[in-house]
């Protein structure tokens, strides 16, 4: 599909907001299913063609960063996962990695591998929601049910591990809340053995579908230069030929031990953004399988008493253990003064927590580098000149989570 260049306005009176009828200003959202959250867009149209798109965000602003300044380091895990509710484990991981670096914590290998398994499974779950809801915007109802069926299996795993299906809060500074249940390994193996076969079906069902290709190929192109200029990260950037993946560039949590590829595309259109995510799900499966094979029994918490609660059995016969327990729960630990930033790869892009400690038991300042906010900026340049109906699937193709945008 060829994209026509936008005709420039002939004079001042034709600009949006004047009495001229050439341009039409349309309000999209904030309460509309196609905006994937409470995103409001002010769109100027010339007929069917888009002249400008102005995202208005902030409807979900919750002040998490400010709240975290008034909670102990351990309590902040409650807040981090509420920002990106679709890839919650990634936010937890990014936060605890930053604090662990501040504390010089030594996280046991078993805990790191379990973190990787859960984060990657969650990445698949997030991409499944991307496909389900994204296809829904194109009018395809069937993929939604398949994607949700797959995701249900993952939700069961997360529920078995953390007790809840959303807002897990399972990672702790220095390790995990507790070890995974005995059924964990079997549950994960069953799921990842079945998924690639199902993924083949889905590939034939939607990615190889000629109607979908006609609708998405060559539409809403983000060039490589544009991606760099607008700081696009994550799968959307990799679809434009920017090979940025922090699991490879700055490996954290034993990612350097697994063999996996980083799928990239050069086209930068909506189809490329979908294809990269599709391949990423299969790569995540590979990582999970390798991490499961390497998973060995062992502790899941840093034995350092500055960070971790003493084991339950010690509380019955050790006064010191009771004191440590009391101090950790009521006051929390005190990281040394300093500033840290650990970049990680979430399902949406670069995710990092810039944590500043003043030596107290609460962070002095937390700044979340959330990928969705920066990614949303690429919506306008890629939509201009295109059709209004394409803009709706373009929003979905960047996969914004509004909790992640507004923080």
């Amino acid at each position: 599909m060829s994209v026509k260049p936008v005709n420039p306005p002939r004079d001042e009176s034709e600009l949006p907001g004047s009495f001229s009828t050439r341009y039409m200003r349309i309000n999209v959202g904030p309460q509309h299913p196609s905006t994937h959250g409470v995103l409001r867009l002010v769109v100027d149209l010339d007929g069917e063609q888009i002249v400008s798109v102005k995202p208005q965000v902030g409807y979900l602003h919750t002040g998490f960063e400010k709240t975290m300044e008034n909670r102990t380091y351990q309590q902040c895990v409650t807040y981090s996962n509420r920002m990106d509710y679709l890839h919650a484990f990634a936010h937890d991981l990014a936060y605890v990695l930053a604090v662990e670096k501040l504390m010089d914590a030594r996280v046991p290998v078993r805990a790191q591998r379990i973190r990787v398994i859960l984060t990657e499974l969650n990445r698949i779950a997030s991409h499944l929601v991307f496909f389900g809801t994204g296809m829904l915007d194109m009018g395809a109802l069937t993929p939604y049910f398949y994607c949700m069926r797959e995701r249900e299996g993952l939700m069961d795993i997360f529920e078995a591990v953390s007790g809840v299906r959303m807002n897990y809060g399972y990672f702790r500074v220095g390790g995990l809340y507790q070890d995974v249940p005995d059924t964990f390994e079997q549950m994960v193996r069953t799921w990842i053995d079945a998924f690639p076969k199902h993924a083949d079906e889905y590939y034939n069902l939607f990615m190889a579908n000629s109607i979908l290709k006609a609708r998405t190929q060559g539409v809403a192109v983000v060039t490589r230069d544009m991606a760099i200029d607008y700081a696009l990260t994550g799968p959307s950037a990799r679809a434009s030929g920017v090979p940025l993946d922090y699991r490879k560039a700055a490996p954290y949590s034993t990612y350097d031990e697994y063999v996996f590829d980083v799928p990239t595309r050069e086209e930068g259109d909506i189809y490329a953004r979908m294809a990269v995510r599709f391949e990423e799900m299969l790569e995540s499966c590979k990582i999970v399988r390798q991490a499961l094979d390497m998973l060995e029994p062992g502790p899941v918490k840093d034995p350092d008493r500055r960070i971790s609660l003493p084991p339950r059995r010690e509380l019955e016969n050790s006064m010191e253990a009771v004191i440590f327990h009391f101090k950790l729960v009521t006051e929390g630990f005190h990281p040394p003064k300093g500033e840290v930033y650990v970049p990680t790869e979430s399902a949406r892009g670069e995710l990092g927590y810039y944590v500043i400690s003043d030596g107290g038991s609460m962070p002095y300042r937390v700044k979340v580098k959330a990928p969705s906010l920066a990614n949303l900026q690429s919506l306008e340049p890629s939509s201009i000149g295109g059709l209004f109906a394409d803009m709706v699937i373009n929003i979905a193709s960047f996969d914004p989570v509004l909790g992640d945008v507004d923080k």
Partner: protein, 213 residues
């Protein structure tokens, strides 16, 4: 800190080394974080410094944010720091460019260097009230239009904030709570017992009307 010492401490990638050299030439002072490299540059040179970073291969600006050091123990220097998080396209080299500003000072905008700086500068302005000179559209990004103040400042009141709504209603939390507990009728006009409701609070200040209902 001399360059030689710095290279010992931080394993520099080629891009980062080139950017650091350019920044030091512009008057930047390198500082040390946990495996991070901070360079504080003079405020007047910030756009030049960011251009130098981009030319040296640190091509992406991922984030801009501000830090309020008002209550930071032992902090000397200006109150705010604006931090630019720049890295290369492979993600292996990263550098934090910092600018120090006082309350009321403005920083030149980076939107000429990266168009993606737009939202990031708006967020910084919204959260800390640091203005960016030459920004094409410096409006609040996340907080509601009728919120006074900038929430990430350390002197922003938490919780008990009297709120003036657009329609002229004024909500004073202390008075509101007093009204609910019945010790004082407060703004709700309720002092226990049967609920009487409020006839009109339009235009009343928090202390007027208290105790009359």
């Amino acid at each position: 800190m001399s360059d030689a010492l710095l290279e010992d401490l931080v394993p520099l990638g080629a891009n980062r080394a080139a950017a650091l050299a350019a920044l030091v030439e512009l008057g930047g002072v390198a500082g040390e974080g946990k495996e991070m490299l901070n360079v504080t540059v003079p405020k007047a040179k910030v756009v030049e410094a960011l251009r130098a970073c981009r030319a040296a291969g640190l091509e992406m600006l991922t984030d801009i944010f501000g830090i309020d050091y008002l209550t930071y123990p032992g902090h000397r220097g200006k109150r705010f720091a604006v931090v630019y998080n720049v890295h290369d396209v492979r993600g292996t080299d990263r550098l934090f460019v910092r600018v120090e500003v006082d309350d009321g000072e403005s920083v030149p905008t980076a939107t000429e260097v990266w168009r993606g700086a737009d939202f990031l500068e708006r967020e910084t302005f919204d959260m800390l009230g640091i203005e960016f000179e030459g920004h094409p559209n410096l409006r609040k990004l996340l907080t509601p239009e009728d919120l006074d103040g900038h929430p990430h400042r350390k002197d922003f009141p938490l919780g008990e904030t009297p709120t003036l709504f657009n329609d002229g209603r004024f909500l004073d939390p202390a008075a509101f709570r007093a009204g609910l507990t019945g010790r004082n009728p407060g703004l709700t006009g309720w002092s226990g017992g049967a609920r009487r409701g409020v006839t009109s609070t339009e235009g009343t200040l928090p202390d007027e009307g208290r105790g009359k209902a």
